[in-house]
């Protein structure tokens, strides 16, 4: 897994709440047996009309918006446990998702793929979304070590929470699997109980 320390980037607004993982990546694109190329179908049914023609109304097709931060409405990533949703977001080029609320499984999947899911206050989220709509150029700064998400132009300096263990993993690029393998003795002992 890639290390994450800090990021300064423009952002893409998605002011919709309850974005489910079926929207992030529809099931018909889950047939691959590797993790490659899911970004192409990220938000497929919102991005394309009739599955082929780009939907000009959708933010990912708006040339004004770019950057590696996605700012989305509350309860992002609800529904199916498909990790393909996190792979699609990562493959498209997002490194951070900011929302006021994340579904449990998605949040875990994101962190396991080096994507930082940052939960901020609903009012702050609303002002960032509003500002982004008016000005696609605004910069958001994320500092994982300090657990700070800053939007200088709005004067927002928001602290976010992250499990200390997960923070350590992201900062160092460590996987859970390595950690669990280091606990084999304890696990074997538990099995013998």
């Amino acid at each position: 897994m890639e290390k994450f320390t800090r990021l300064q980037s423009k952002a893409v607004p998605l002011p919709i709440s309850d974005v489910d993982t079926d929207q992030i990546i529809p099931a018909r694109f889950l047939k691959a047996t590797n993790k490659i190329g899911f970004g192409e179908n990220l938000f497929r049914d919102w991005r394309y009309l009739n599955d082929t023609e780009p939907n000009k109304e959708f933010v990912l097709n708006n040339p004004k918006y770019s950057g590696s931060i996605l700012v989305a409405g509350a309860n992002f990533g609800c529904g199916s446990s498909r990790e393909h949703a996190a792979w699609a977001i990562e493959d498209y080029g997002f490194k951070v998702v900011i929302s006021s609320f994340f579904a449990d499984i998605f949040k875990g999947n994101a962190l396991n793929n080096g994507i930082l899911a940052i939960q901020i206050d609903q009012h702050e989220l609303n002002s960032i979304l509003q500002k982004l709509e008016a000005d696609p150029e605004i910069i958001i700064e994320v500092d994982l070590e300090a657990q700070k998400c800053t939007v200088p132009v709005l004067g927002i300096e928001s602290s976010f929470e992250i499990d200390p263990y997960k923070k350590y993993c992201l900062l160092n690029g460590f996987d859970d699997i390595d950690f669990l393998l280091s606990k084999k003795t304890e696990i074997n002992k538990f099995e013998k109980k």
Binding site: P15, I16, S17, D18, D20, D22, Q23, P26, A27, R28, L30, K31, A32, T33, N34, K35, D45, D51, G73, A74, N75, C78, G79, S80, S81, R82, E83, A86, F101, A103, D104, I105, G108, N109, N112, N113, D163, P164, Y165, K166, D175, D176, I177, F179, L180, L181, K183, K184, E186, I187, F190, E191
Partner: protein, 456 residues
């Protein structure tokens, strides 16, 4: 202070606790399928790791399989490759597979309970959010991502922070024609799609105590639709009778020992929960959804409420509905009876007893998809297939089918489908498809009438 059911099962499976971090939870049973396992097997191979406990892992092919002509090679090349990859991986690593053609094959959350693999007091995971289904047996069962599937392969454990506990009590007498699906759709409509996030739910009260195991599975299955990682019901005589004598249930002395332990699995009287919610059974009517998340549900004969926010406005637009209108009288061309929520024998008995001697309306395509080969066989043995055929319903072979728009079974764009599945998300049943979630009884009635009709 006494422990909750959840605490009892959780605490019995903790290997270790990381300071300021998650806990290491031991997993008794890992279920896998073709869609969320290939990348996890690949990770093992990349890292040169072997599987820790193949004896605690069982596989089936369900999401990406056709429900017609299963004896033939799968037509779609990508689907075929995915199913073949599962077979190869299971052979290579030594995992038991009940694949296509096997008499045990089926939707993983239908197959595992009916074989007695699911047992009270277990911890169970699967790369599928509806793993919550198994909570009906008093197990801690929840969905995981593929990275975690690899972790369980490698260590038989997951790293997880202990969720908070919530008890949802429903007591009183359910009305006529109100079943388990209505109860859970009502709960989700009342609480919303994220009320359960961060929680593990225990369902309590006489309404759940009186339910069959099939009904309890329908309820626990949809726990994830309110954001809860899982939901569970204390095991009782109904549970024990269901598990007893099934293929993989403990037998003889082992059964007696397990049973004695299972009988201790209930929340103590003085146990406290982080959140307690009560509902009166009498308030629950037959339910239907009108929007694009399972929380957008209402009584079958109610009027669509006004949109509360932009997202709900978008949902009504997608569905082609207006606030204030009724669903009664809406023409419906597709009816799907199946999925891990409602594809067990009891569901098909309910449907068969309603449609016996009736015929589906001409405009309706009614699809009946058994949850497993065993359910399909039971449908035959009980003669229900004849009732379905005479009523013009099409019976398919077992699989996830039109629940998720992944395999060949899809609902066409802009068409409405009254479905017994669990998700009405945009495009869930196929691009542009519009899903209305309901019970098997309402689905059957819709198929016969060709439109949404009141039960009265």
């Amino acid at each position: 202070m006494g422990k909750t059911l959840f605490d009892k099962v959780w605490d019995a499976h903790i290997v270790d606790t990381i300071q300021d971090g998650p806990q290491i939870l031991y997993i008794d049973q890992h279920l896998i399928h073709e869609v969320t396992s290939p990348q996890a097997f690949a990770e093992l191979e990349e890292k040169g790791i072997d599987m820790a406990r193949t004896d605690k892992t069982v596989a089936t092919a369900d999401h990406n399989v056709p429900t017609i002509n299963q004896h033939l090679s799968i037509k779609d090349a990508l689907s075929r490759k995915q199913v073949d990859t599962l077979t190869k991986n299971c052979e290579k690593f030594g995992v038991t597979l009940y694949g296509l053609g096997h008499p045990y094959q089926g939707i993983i959350h239908v197959m595992s309970p009916e074989l007695g693999i699911t047992q009270p007091g277990m911890t169970m995971v699967c790369g599928d959010s509806h793993t919550s289904t198994h909570g009906a047996f008093g197990t801690i069962a929840f969905g995981i991502g593929t990275s975690q599937v690899a972790q369980v392969f490698a260590s038989q454990c997951v790293l997880i922070n202990k969720p908070k506990t919530m008890r949802i009590t429903v007591s009183g007498k359910l009305g006529h024609n109100v079943g388990p699906k209505d109860v859970i759709l009502y709960i989700i409509a009342q609480l919303g799609t994220n009320a359960g996030t961060g929680f593990f739910v225990e369902y309590a009260g006489n309404v759940f105590e009186d339910m069959t195991m099939e009904g309890r599975m329908t309820v626990c299955n949809m726990s994830i639709e309110m954001g809860a990682r899982g939901g569970m019901i204390a095991p009782d005589q109904t549970t024990f009778s269901y598990v007893k004598n099934r293929e993989f249930a403990p037998k003889g002395e082992a059964w007696d020992q397990k049973l004695a332990y299972w009988k201790t699995l209930h929340s103590e009287k003085d146990a406290t929960f982080d959140k307690e919610i009560h509902f009166d059974a009498a308030d629950i009517a037959p339910m239907i959804t009108y929007g694009t998340n399972p929380g957008m549900g209402m009584a079958l004969d109610a009027k669509i409420p006004a949109a509360k926010n932009e997202t709900e406005v978008k949902a009504l637009e997608y569905m082609g509905f207006n606030a204030g209108e009724e669903l009664l009288g809406k023409t419906i061309n597709y009816v799907f009876i199946g999925s891990c929520t409602n594809s067990r024998i009891e569901d098909f008995r309910t449907v068969a007893s309603y449609i016996k001697g009736k015929r589906k309306a001409n405009n309706v395509n009614a699809l009946v998809v058994p949850g497993s080969q065993k359910v399909a066989a039971q449908i035959q043995n009980e003669g229900l297939n004849q009732i379905f055929e005479e009523a013009g319903f099409e019976i398919r072979q077992s699989g996830c089918s039109a629940c998720l728009g992944m395999n060949e079974d899809k609902i066409p764009a802009n068409e409405y489908c009254v479905s017994t599945s669990n998700r009405n998300f945009e495009g869930r049943q196929g691009p542009g498809a519009r899903t209305l979630l309901a019970s098997p009884l309402i689905a059957a009635m819709t198929a016969v009438e060709g439109k949404i009709t009141s039960l009265h």
